[in-house]
């Protein structure tokens, strides 16, 4: 059951989203995001879950012609991240993101993690070094890379690269972290590592994760939202969604009859 004592970290209110070609990818989506919880977005391909996720850090701004309607409000300061006057760069400083395929930069391991601090003009070497170490520890990667921080990030394995990307996102102390199918390019062991990491991370921040893998949603998330054709069909406690969904569509998807 939704614990009413859990504070809200963010919520989307009647969010519509249109791609440049006029296609409406999100239809009046409303959903809460509770603090220090993991919320999973599930649904068949093309249902809009990644589109929804990418609204939170205004990734759609990178491509001309995309249009948002509605609000995504962050708490406690009540900032609507979609408002015209809000700088998307400010938003991305508070809400970081981990992508489907590991996308390290062509830099050393150290510089990859320090990237967020560098673009924020952090000059103090001590601070940078401490933050990098802390982030790598937070991403459970420190022990594997502490002796080769100056190696190129491409030399790491896929799972290590993804944890490096998590460390990179972690280094700037974000409030919310978005995961866009973070394990779909990884093997089962690396996937288990990432899932364990997510469960630890939620003590520090709020997580929104898109996943294709129903077991993953059931394993890691506290809340689950089922989306279909750009609409939020059902949202609730993960335990409830996976055992007693109220909507027939949700049940069909979860039991594999559809999607």
């Amino acid at each position: 059951m939704v614990n009413t004592s859990t504070p809200l970290k963010a919520e989307s209110k009647d969010l519509n989203f249109y791609y440049a070609n006029g296609h409406q990818a999100l239809k009046s989506v409303s959903m809460p995001l509770y603090e220090n919880k993991i919320t999973a977005l599930i649904g068949p391909s093309g249902c809009g879950k990644s589109t929804f996720l990418r609204c939170f850090n205004r990734m759609h701004d990178l491509y001309p012609g995309n249009k948002y309607e509605g609000q995504i409000v962050m708490h406690p300061d009540n900032t609507n991240v979609l408002a015209a006057g809000v700088d998307p760069i400010e938003v991305r400083m508070r809400i970081s993101m981990v992508f489907q395929k590991p996308n390290p930069f062509p830099k050393t391991i150290f510089e990859n993690v320090a990237y967020g601090l560098r673009v924020r003009d952090e000059k103090n070497k001590r601070v940078v070094a401490d933050k990098v170490e802390e982030a790598l520890k937070g991403a459970a990667l420190w022990n594997e890379v502490k002796d080769r921080l100056n190696d190129l990030a491409f030399n790491l394995s896929g799972g290590q690269q993804q944890r490096l990307c998590i460390a990179r996102a972690l280094a700037t102390d974000p409030e919310i972290m978005l995961f866009d199918e973070p394990t779909s390019a990884l093997d089962p062991i690396a996937t288990a590592n990432i899932e364990e990491l997510m469960s630890e991370l939620k003590n520090k921040l709020t997580i929104l994760v898109v996943t294709h893998n129903m077991q993953q949603a059931a394993r890691v998330s506290d809340f689950t939202a089922y989306m279909y054709l750009g609409e939020m069909i059902e949202y609730g406690d993960t335990d409830v969604i996976f055992t007693r969904p109220t909507r027939k569509e949700t049940e069909d998807y979860i039991t594999g009859k559809f999607g």
């Binding site: 001309p64 760069i89 990237y115 967020g116 673009v119 491409f154």
Partner: protein, 315 residues
């Protein structure tokens, strides 16, 4: 290469069912096609070897009468004079100076143009700008030469009144402008090949466009950008008409761009326009000069190859 193809053929032959594998006619056709493709590829290689062989052969004749020591340490190049001297240094100095001036213009302007076109320009701007830029490549170099001589030099003389009518500065500057499209085009292709996911990663960290272009896209495209620079160096070193027209044809051992001087290419074109008897030392001297030019370009290409290999990106 050939063994690899054979191994592949063997491997596939093993997997193909006997009913399909018996097709001798198809096999024969494949062989013929392979042969034609190989000949096409080899034609360029043979041409290169033929050029090198002729360069070496004629230079050998030259070096029978001129010692290597004199060739590389002499400070005067006057093979066609009564009092002949055969020191190549003045020509090398001219070539390096004009190339340096050209690259000083082309590398920054070309790189900035590439960054702008790839990372900042809208789709529409890029579609209009790039063809115009590439149009510059189609302008005959002789036109650039006279542009340097008759337009840029008088302009420069307003700033530097002592500048002679033939000077390496003007030739180098115009050559630089001429090379900009090469760098811009190749470097832009390299930057656009950087996957979007890498840019998104940078933007998601709160980076600006400029930070993303400079700190992520440019390093990711290093090998392609270096390739563009190498192409530009080879162009500059081998460029003939601009320097022959605007830099003067007087061999002059100096690295001062405000003076006139002949480059290796300018000397070759000057001698080639006269009628020297074959096998005369003057005739052979252009092959020796050509060989030096060839070795210089080769060195730059090898250097470029090494650098590219070092920075090959694995995204």
């Amino acid at each position: 290469m050939n063994t690899a193809t054979n191994m592949l053929n063997n491997a596939t032959a093993l997997q193909i069912s006997p009913r399909l594998a018996k097709n001798i006619r198809r096999n024969f056709k494949e062989r013929i096609i392979e042969l034609i493709l190989m000949l096409a590829a080899l034609s360029a290689v043979f041409t290169t070897f033929a050029i090198v062989a002729i360069l070496l052969y004629e230079s050998f004749g030259f070096f029978k009468s001129v010692s290597l020591v004199e060739f590389f340490t002499g400070t005067q190049w006057t093979p066609l004079f009564e009092d002949a001297h055969y020191g190549i240094m003045p020509l090398i100095a001219g070539t390096l100076t004009t190339s340096f001036v050209a690259l000083a213009v082309a590398v920054p302007v070309g790189t900035i143009t590439a960054i702008y076109l790839s990372e900042f320009a809208s789709h529409k701007t890029r579609e209009i700008t790039k063809p115009i830029l590439e149009l510059l490549v189609g302008v005959p170099t002789i036109a650039f030469g006279y542009f340097a001589l008759l337009f840029v030099t008088p302009l420069l003389q307003k700033i530097f009144p002592e500048l002679p009518g033939f000077n390496m500065l003007s030739a180098g500057l115009v050559m630089g402008v001429m090379i900009v499209p090469y760098i811009a085009s190749v470097a832009e292709d390299a930057m656009r090949a950087v996957p979007m996911s890498m840019r998104e990663g940078s933007y998601a960290m709160g980076a600006t466009r400029f930070q993303t272009a400079l700190r992520v896209v440019t390093p990711a495209a290093t090998s392609g950008i270096v390739a563009a620079y190498i192409l530009a160096i080879s162009r500059a070193v081998g460029e003939t008409m601009v320097v022959a027209v605007a830099a003067g044809q007087q061999p002059n051992l100096t690295f001062d761009p405000t003076e006139g001087a002949a480059t290796i290419t300018a000397y070759i074109v000057q001698v080639a326009m006269g009628d020297l008897p074959h096998a005369s030392i003057g005739y052979q001297s252009i092959f020796a000069a050509g060989l030096v030019l060839f070795v210089m370009t080769l060195c730059f290409n090898i250097l470029g190859h090494v650098v590219r290999k070092k920075y090959r990106e694995q995204y």
